[in-house]
Assembly symmetry: C2
Homo-oligomer: 426 residues x 2
């Protein structure tokens, strides 16, 4: 079957999915857990093949690490599915209702988006997690995984399709793409695909955005900042900088640039350096910083760099306003935090920093769907359109307006014979 | 000043706009009403020039009609501004709040989108209406009007800028573009512009979508359907068809294709023809229709055509499912209605028709921001991402996550020392 047929089938399935009851969707999730348990050895065997082949092909180590899908990962995946089954159904919620006139009532009701195209890299658990989020929100999905996870993704897709048939989920709601050519072709199918979610490198997301008319949900960079204000608790500031930078360096919500108010820099920077040295973090600093602690000299390029590594750039700023301006110019609108004891300063920072996540006295690492209590996430969005920040089930629905009348015509209102009441009822 | 500088200034102004209080924004709207009253003769003079020049240039008649900005139009515009001033501020609303742990609280708060690029055709009142919606939602705006309205748009922009200065609205929040070259350039400025809203022909919107990485909010076609079910009240069906088709033919929510259940076609079609003849509507019908009433034969192309004229295509269908399938295949996801006395049939139609607006026993002409009680609209969206259907103030805001902590680090949770409470508080 060629890709257009698959996409057309997915579109058809997506219409059928709108009337699949919550119970049937949750039953699917439970049965998928059972099937993963029953087939765990087959899955692990396929994954071992992928790892062996990828080692031979010398794929980068972080990619290889993420490729691993063992007993622990399977157990985590199952636990994630169990949580997802417990979340409320995001579809069919009345967002509001308004009486336009007697017997003429308008409802805005949440509904699925339709067909979602998702492109992700090596982690095979992403296939299960993302497709399940789509199913729970009644969306059909076209998935393209990394070729390094080929065998694992195939067996997982087979399991998903088997469980789908068993649970009476509309045929064709999920399809696995395997080639790069498929991706190129998918980007053209704006008649069938309603949203693309690419998960991968910055360059990759940019490439997708440049090559499709389909809306794209995702984030480019995660250049996150922590601003240590002159009224900060300096011990707290050190602890937050260390956690934001080193708790997990290879992720988009890790700290990349530390901004330090000039009035506390001389006291703060030596305290920071001591702790960062313990964690073996390379410090890169502006000219002012260089006068206080030994650091690698920073260039403007550092302010625009997402290291994803044990590296931290440091800049001394004269004021809150300079910190805000720096973040709005060089940041990526992902996650930015302030450390201060002054509520007004924090409020101004949180108002004027134009980012999806703005924090006061907390680590940047908190910006995550699980930690936010969303249950699970398809990714973190730095878009300002549709969903922003960690995107859970709610980001996978749209809404429609449903109007219930009794033969009402517009001419009666245009001619002044009738008047709208516009009475909000929900 | 070149366009990049304007866009950069708009971006700066958009950050300042986030802290402009509701009162100051409403005061601006009131002062704008006053200024329009005071300058009405200057405005009308400029508009007379535009009309004279456009008549010489022989621009199409509907365009010329929309270009007119007289006393009546000015009064309507002022009345719209007064309503807008009364609407609640869409910015700064807490959408929800959740306690993640003791002293660690997450708020999702509505915020402006940033800088919005709007391209509209001749109607000069659109300049006032759209820029005011942007201001009320604290967005900066780059506007490109039609060249036919050049003089009127210039004087209106001058008035807006004067009132802005007087009311202490951040400098540079609005800028009027004048050339096509400006539009081409604007489409490249994804560093500064967050959303493009094009208002114009289908081809034009498609062109915009194909030539920018900036998200686009708008609708392509409005191919609206009315399905007359076998259990319809036939008199109601005739009245709704006539209103949907003829109440105003040149708009996107006008009826283009009528679907008729085969079981009532022989009774219904002659009733319909009588009324449509009175309104001088040309009927174009499928083979089945041709056997019942005299019509122009339809081709597949008719099902895909937005006539925007006194023309109606008619198709006889065998079942509700065929009607749904036809709409999902040939429709444009705008507005589709069913006439039936059977609630189950209506529910199924409204669930499975994948359109922004789905109506039961009401005219398609109701899909409109004013009629929906949204106050005003920037347009109707057939996007399924972000805003769908008539887009009012709510479609011009995004949200940000604000996290308030007390030195919380992620490591404490990762190591199991602390647990999330995830207690919803609002």
């Amino acid at each position: 079957m060629n890709l257009i047929d698959c996409a057309r089938n997915a579109k058809k399935a997506s219409i059928q999915l709108t009337k699949v009851e919550t119970e049937r969707k949750n039953n699917y999730l439970t049965e998928l857990c059972n099937a993963l348990k029953q087939n765990h050895s087959t899955i692990i065997n396929a994954n071992v093949q992928d790892i062996a082949r990828s080692e031979k092909e010398k794929i980068p180590l972080p990619l290889l690490k993420r490729l691993k899908f063992d007993e622990t990962k399977i157990a985590e995946t199952i636990s994630g599915l169990e949580s997802l089954a417990k979340l409320p159904d995001p579809v069919g919620k009345i967002q509001y209702a308004i009486e336009l006139d007697e017997d003429l009532t308008l409802y805005r009701v949440s509904c699925p988006i339709g067909v979602i195209g998702i492109i992700f890299e090596s982690r095979p658990d992403a296939l299960i997690q993302i497709s399940s989020l789509c199913l729970k929100s009644s969306n059909a999905v076209l998935l393209k995984g990394g070729s390094e996870a080929r065998e694992t993704n195939r067996i997982l897709t087979d399991i998903i399709i088997n469980v789908s048939e068993k649970c009476n989920i509309p045929h064709g709601w999920i399809h696995l793409l395997e080639t790069r050519q498929d991706v190129t072709e998918m980007l053209q199918l704006d008649d069938y695909i309603d949203l693309i979610i690419p998960r991968g490198s910055n360059e990759f997301v940019q490439f997708i955005m440049n090559n499709t008319r389909i809306p794209v949900l995702g984030h480019a960079d995660g250049i996150c900042h922590l601003f240590v204000d002159e009224e900060a608790d300096l011990n707290m500031a050190v602890a937050l900088a260390v956690d934001s930078k080193t708790q997990y360096v290879a992720v988009c919500n890790a700290l990349e640039t530390l901004l330090v108010h000039k009035n506390i820099a001389e006291t703060f920077l030596p305290m920071l350096k001591k702790k960062m040295d313990e964690k073996k973090v390379q410090l890169i600093g502006c000219e002012q910083t260089q006068k206080i602690i030994p650091v690698t000299p920073a260039t403007e390029r550092d302010w625009r760099t997402e290291y994803l590594d044990y590296k931290l750039s440091i800049k001394i700023v004269d004021s809150l306003q300079e910190a805000i301006d720096h973040i709005n110019e060089f940041g990526s609108g992902h996650t930015d935090a302030i450390v201060t004891n002054n509520r007004n300063t924090a409020t101004r920072f949180m108002e004027m920093v134009d980012s999806a996540n703005v924090f006061w006295n907390a680590s940047t690492r908190f910006s995550d769907g699980y930690r936010y209590g969303l249950g699970a996430e398809v990714g973190i969005s730095t878009n300002k359109i549709h969903a922003r920040g960690p995107v859970g089930l709610e980001g996978l629905v749209s809404y429609k307006y449903k109007l219930y009348g009794n033969g009402h015509t517009v001419e009666e209102y245009a001619s002044g014979k009738r008047k709208f009441t516009h009475r909000r009822i929900q």
